[in-house]
Symmetry: C2
Subunit: 412 residues, 2 copies
């Protein structure tokens, strides 16, 4: 970044110098205070954010200006962009992406990122920092662009939030998971030390462009992966969406939301789930409120997913978590047996698992304890109360988890 003088040498880092302190011994003498005590300043401020989540079919059409303009001021536009592309997306759409930017006379720096849960690390973020440094980003006029799935979106989001303390970015999700979940909110994150999303931030994109036509090239396992989050929204806040999934889910999955004869239904499923997600997120973007129905399916799944890595996709772990909590809700009389069967049947019909052998009552209990710590000392576990409604409970026991495991193992 230093122009003609060449880059500065990296700072020298001394080896690990953290150490844990010895126990107390004696006290040091203290001088008299020189300032009147008690003077206090209260610093208060409010930060407003606003961003558009836009359904934008054909985002790579050369005639569609949305992506070229996203996050910029037309009066003082820059003709450069730093674009991070998922490697699978690059294979399928790389040429169209390059043509798109060329057509719009934007000089793109395209970085291909091998997205998988194992690459969701701080090291990946730092590799991208290096590329950004080399690009010499003008951070106010050249929003980063992330084209890919949930992992890529989370990694680029964290990069954008840390780089120069905050850099704008545009999300272009290419998976169903991205379209209905990861691409919509403001969370970013990477896994660390065996913990899901241990490091991250809240950093809103300047624009999210949702193009369902990307689904056409998505493998059916990843369609199922996204359907898990759609099912989640259905189960906790939209019974009609559940009925749509029950009736059309398998066909939507098979046709990747692109069958002309189901265009109305596929549109409705996508719009309802995006709408439901935004309604839940918007009043609680920074998660000050800890009782979140969108946490449904996300109590046990972080541990299940990390433990089974790389075997389970995020949505698959969420589906298993939802199956477990469905059994708990049934055992508590919050759901009928029929409702319970409907949930498990629909889960399976969407190509999602309801069980994995890593599940054991002890592991689930550990996971619940960990989540409890994350939720300020209470379980705040959303359970279905019928279909399309959730209630929070704080008293799930080991015995209930063991019972749910027995039920599900038997059914698997």
């Amino acid at each position: 970044m230093m122009g003609a003088s060449g880059p500065l040498p990296p700072p020298r880092v001394t080896p690990t110098q953290l150490r844990v302190a010895a126990p107390p011994t004696a006290a040091v003498t203290r001088p008299a205070p020189a300032v009147t005590p008690g003077r206090t300043w209260e610093v208060s401020a409010s930060q407003s954010i606003s961003y558009a989540v836009q359904l934008c079919p054909g985002v790579l059409e050369p005639t569609n200006p949305a992506l070229a303009r996203a996050g910029t001021d037309p009066d003082r536009d820059s003709r450069r962009r730093f674009v991070v592309i998922d490697d699978a997306v690059d294979e399928l759409y790389g040429n169209r992406i390059r043509s798109y930017f060329a057509k719009h006379e934007i000089e793109g720096r395209f970085v291909i990122f091998d997205s998988c849960e194992e690459r969701k690390t701080i090291d990946s973020v730092l590799e991208l920092v290096e590329c950004l440094d080399a690009f010499e980003l003008d951070r106010r006029r050249e929003p980063l662009i992330a084209i890919g799935g949930g992992v890529l979106s989370d990694v680029v989001g964290l990069l954008a939030s840390m780089y120069r303390r905050s850099t704008p970015y545009v999300r272009v999700p290419t998976t169903l998971m991205g379209l209905v979940d990861a691409g919509i909110g403001i969370k970013t994150g990477v896994n660390h030390d065996g913990h899901k999303n241990r490091l991250g931030s809240y950093h809103a994109p300047v624009h999210a462009l949702l193009d369902p036509t990307f689904l056409n090239t998505l493998d059916s396992r990843h369609i199922s992966n996204g359907l898990a989050e759609i099912l989640k929204i259905a189960l906790v806040c939209d019974r009609q969406l559940f009925e749509l999934l029950m009736r059309h889910g398998p066909e939507l999955r098979r046709t990747r939301f692109a069958a002309p004869e189901l265009s109305e239904e596929s549109g409705e499923v996508l719009v309802r789930s995006i709408q439901g997600m935004i309604e839940q997120l918007q009043p609680n973007l920074w998660e000050g409120q800890l009782e979140r129905v969108v946490d449904y399916g996300h109590t046990f799944s972080p541990t299940i997913e990390m433990r089974a890595l790389p075997e389970l996709l995020h949505g698959e772990a969420v589906a298993i978590d939802m199956a477990i909590t469905t059994m708990i809700a049934w055992r508590r009389g919050m759901m009928t047996r029929d409702e319970c069967d409907d949930v498990l049947d629909v889960t399976r019909s969407l190509g999602l698992p309801t069980w994995h052998d890593v599940c054991a009552p002890g592991l689930l209990m550990d996971s619940l304890r960990e989540t409890t710590r994350h939720r300020d000392g209470l379980q705040r576990l959303p359970l279905q109360n019928g279909i399309g409604r959730a209630t929070f409970v704080n008293d799930v026991s080991y015995a209930e988890l063991a019972g749910a495991c027995t039920d599900l193992r038997r059914a698997a």
Copy 2:
């Protein structure tokens, strides 16, 4: 964190898989969109923050409850704290810190951090993440506590902002730089790849406890280091503060703000500079407004500091930057020769440099270009317009920088 089952294995990371894409060749065919285009959701929200900056002499007095209570809810307090302590502070105050927490029946986990600019790295943050994981932090009831100087405050601040996407923390600055600058605002950051604060965040502490009695054990070079930021506030927005520094600066420095006969003056200097800093910061906490008078002294200094590492302290690099801009302001007729001499004399009387041999017009120009990129394409360089007032300019030239260098080298 997984209790009885032991920690999860770390995710496997495949080797560097970023690559830069090949140029475009041909386009993939695209299916027809299934969703009516144009549907847009506007997501808007506002995040309010509020924190106290409190002058609190005797923060380690066993009878002073401020630190034990900071950032907690008395109704549902936790008796544990994760405390990061600067190693030099630990040597002088470690026993008193441990006694303080013991007296308040708080189980502390004390981590000693070797603070120096070279340790202001993402690796340091990750080392602390490991300690935090082992501590099993209850993030809503156990605010992290950072006791140390600016580097420690910046590193722990970034840790707190990333850990579980946001964790509360309390700042207890122990240096003058911390008291009047780094400990007050909401910025966090680490250096990366030779760039000052390349990675960071805006993350407000829940409480900042400013205890000037720590200054009594600070070496005079670090007193000077903090005086640079006090001088900055004086030069751009508080002429009276400048006069106080001119009259009492050397004596305040010599007595570390603790001389009984200067207690009024030392209190006034501290309060005025903290007040001035907060007045500038509060309306612009997230730096949406790019013309910041508190950026005075911070245009060339990041490069000077990183280039001279580890030779110059932050405030020393800031003092050199201010000397350079003072000469530019004089050459532009914005300051008289007398004012200019007063500024340089006061700078030197505070034990601060006005020159370093790494300064060369080429390096300064590169630095200005880099800062210009950071400030959205305009220099937005604050220059003194007399003493105690600043004006922003956008047209500083290589010739002016060369002139300023000649003037200062001659005077050094």
